[in-house]
């Protein structure tokens, strides 16, 4: 073996040694569980006795289960309304904060702070804040003569209430959009102004296209988080009233850890994995077609 080849081999060996904690963790805590979960999904398994092979039974039961469809409906409802709403609001705030306003730092801080409040605290706070009788929201609504809904206690209003709660945390996305806006070269705006483009035209021909990689990132993160959302619902409604907030992740938790149907819950988890992948591929395709990625390094 040549000297160069020998030193290359040595380098690779030492490198792998440095990677080894992660490689072991990948095998034990990620790869094995994924495969085991797929296997469990074809079994009846309580977690106590050993799994019994059941073929496709879990999946067949799943597609016949009205609660499965209900949880998909609820999850998609929250995602399809919640994610675009969050993007529009956080882009809007970022645009406002990207103008030459005073107290910029203070405003940015005030908008950002709610996004770092622990999920448990946020959930408890909003449960109390939206209390139809003793909370301030309905007090204000009543004063200005608007209807006072039952919020989390009313199946028709529980999902909007959850969306309202999540809107309170858009500060994180706003900060990312703000950085995206500050990365847009000012020459583009100057050139457009010379060409006589108005404010609205500049927004749609420069700002939004230049922002599209950031929008893509935030939408993908939004989908991932929204499909997995658990804590707020678990604490605020427990899935009720009348299963109107039974979201997918809560349903998995219940089947696995409350009803001890771990095979069934694993089948649900695999459906979630497939749904998430399809949604992300769809979003990437959509942005690939309409987004602008010219100036962005792919890595």
């Amino acid at each position: 073996m040549s000297k160069v080849a020998k030193s290359r081999l040595r380098e690779a060996r030492i490198g792998l040694l440095f990677l080894s904690p992660w490689l072991i963790g990948l095998a034990v805590f990620t790869a094995y569980p994924i495969i085991a979960s797929l296997y469990f999904s074809f079994t009846h398994y309580s977690g106590l006795s050993s799994p019994r092979w059941a073929g496709l039974d879990n999946y067949v039961q799943l597609f016949k289960d009205p609660l499965f469809w209900k949880s998909i409906y609820n999850t998609l409802y929250l995602a399809i309304i919640g994610i675009p709403l969050a993007q529009v609001l956080s882009i809007l705030v970022a645009l406002l904060l990207n103008t030459k306003v005073k107290f910029l730092g203070i405003f940015r801080t005030l908008y950002f702070l709610p996004s770092i409040v622990p999920a448990v605290a946020t959930a408890l706070l909003w449960k109390w804040f939206l209390n139809p009788q003793f909370g301030p929201v309905n007090l204000l609504l009543e004063k200005i003569g608007l209807p006072t809904p039952g919020w989390l206690t009313d199946p028709a209003w529980s999902k909007p209430a959850l969306i309202l709660t999540s809107v309170w945390g858009v500060g994180g996305a706003m900060v990312i959009y703000l950085a995206g806006l500050q990365n847009i070269p000012t020459e583009l705006y100057e050139a457009a102004e010379l060409d006589g483009a108005g404010k609205i035209a500049r927004l749609f021909t420069i700002t939004l296209p230049m922002l599209s990689p950031v929008i893509l990132f935030n939408v993908v993160m939004g989908i991932i988080n929204s499909f997995q959302s658990f804590t707020s619902v678990f604490i605020m409604t427990g899935g009720g009233p009348e299963n109107s907030t039974l979201v997918y992740a809560l349903s998995i938790y219940r089947n696995g850890f409350q009803f001890y149907k771990m095979g069934y819950a694993s089948a649900m988890a695999w459906v979630l994995l497939i749904m998430t992948s399809i949604a992300i591929v769809f979003v990437f395709k959509f942005f690939g077609k309409y987004g602008y990625f010219g100036g962005v390094d792919k890595q």
């Binding site: 380098e11 690779a12 030492i14 490198g15 792998l16 040694l17 440095f18 990677l19 904690p21 992660w22 072991i24 963790g25 990948l26 034990v28 805590f29 990620t30 569980p33 994924i34 085991a36 979960s37 469990f40 406002l96 904060l97 306003v101 801080t109 908008y111 950002f112 702070l113 709610p114 770092i116 409040v117 622990p118 999920a119 448990v120 605290a121 408890l124 909003w126 109390w128 009788q133 003793f134 301030p136 007090l139 994180g172 900060v175 990312i176 703000l178 950085a179 990365n183 990132f217 658990f230 678990f234 696995g256 850890f257 771990m262 819950a265 988890a269 695999w270 979630l272 994995l273 992300i280």
Partner: protein, 275 residues
């Protein structure tokens, strides 16, 4: 000129309206934590307690095992920080410094693991830890962190990539091996990235709910998030204590934010822009 200042007025009005929307819940959380039960269940609701009860906070610490929950959370968060920082920096150095066949593929796999829903791995992990007899202890929350966290590895690797090769070549001439180069050249140069990574690990662990919910089943082992949630189901009307607990749980994060504002904002933006 006049038109422009009118636009400015609108911008300020919108910004102030937004700030009010974001701040009122905070205010409500704090004011409730100081209320008596009479004020909490007053109709119509009152914004500020008729009598300010700081003793609600004393109740939390004396009557409820809040100190215990805080101590548990500090232990879990501290060990998680130790585990993730040690392992992730070593692995990130491995990804950044060495030529390893198949490294690119491995790094892709690392990024993909960031997108896998925890629900997929949750059940087999539980079965595994149950067989080891670890359920009900902190071990399932702590041990996996010593095998690296994908986000921290990604963040640190991106930073290590910017360290000039001349620095490590110079150290090599002085007889330093790879481990020395990692400790003496890369780590000291990467303080901002290490701080960002530590900050995010702290927040995730401090606020984590799902993992403690699955693995902790004894009141004496609860972390703050589980303790608060349990309190909310056992004493459904204890809103002053629940809001006081929420304030106390949120406070360290807010203090950290004001101490390390730049690290915070940059961390979120780097995570958002560069990936």
């Amino acid at each position: 000129m006049k038109k422009r200042s009118l636009g400015k007025t609108w911008i300020y009005l919108l910004l102030i309206a937004g700030a009010v929307f974001f701040m009122i819940p905070f205010f409500w959380m704090f004011s409730t934590s100081l209320k008596s039960y009479d004020d909490v269940f007053a109709f119509p609701p009152v914004w500020w307690p008729s009598e300010v009860l700081w003793s609600n906070y004393a109740d939390l610490l004396v009557e409820l095992p809040f100190l215990r929950y805080t101590l548990n959370t500090v232990i879990v968060t501290g060990m998680t920080l130790l585990g993730f920082m040690l392992s992730s920096s070593v692995v990130a150095f491995g990804f950044s410094y060495f030529r390893i066949p198949g490294k690119k593929v491995l790094f892709r796999i690392l990024l993909v693991t960031l997108m896998i829903p925890p629900q997929v791995t949750m059940i087999p992990q539980f079965v595994l830890f149950n067989k080891l007899g670890w359920v009900g202890t902190f071990l399932p929350l702590i041990v996996p962190t010593f095998f690296g966290g994908a986000f921290s590895i990604f963040l640190l690797k991106q930073f290590f990539d910017t360290v000039p090769r001349e620095f490590s070549d110079a150290a090599k001439l002085d007889g330093a091996n790879e481990w020395k180069i990692f400790l003496k050249v890369y780590l000291p140069l990467s303080k901002p990235a290490l701080a960002t990574s530590a900050l995010f690990i702290f927040i995730w662990t401090w606020t984590d709910f799902l993992n403690p919910l699955i693995y902790l089943n004894d009141d004496r082992m609860y972390t703050l998030s589980i303790g608060l949630q349990q309190l909310s189901t056992s004493r459904t009307t204890a809103w002053p204590q629940l809001m006081g607990g929420s304030v106390l749980m949120t406070l360290p994060i807010i203090v950290l934010f004001f101490l390390a504002q730049k690290t915070f904002i940059q961390g979120i933006q780097v995570g958002g822009i560069k990936s």
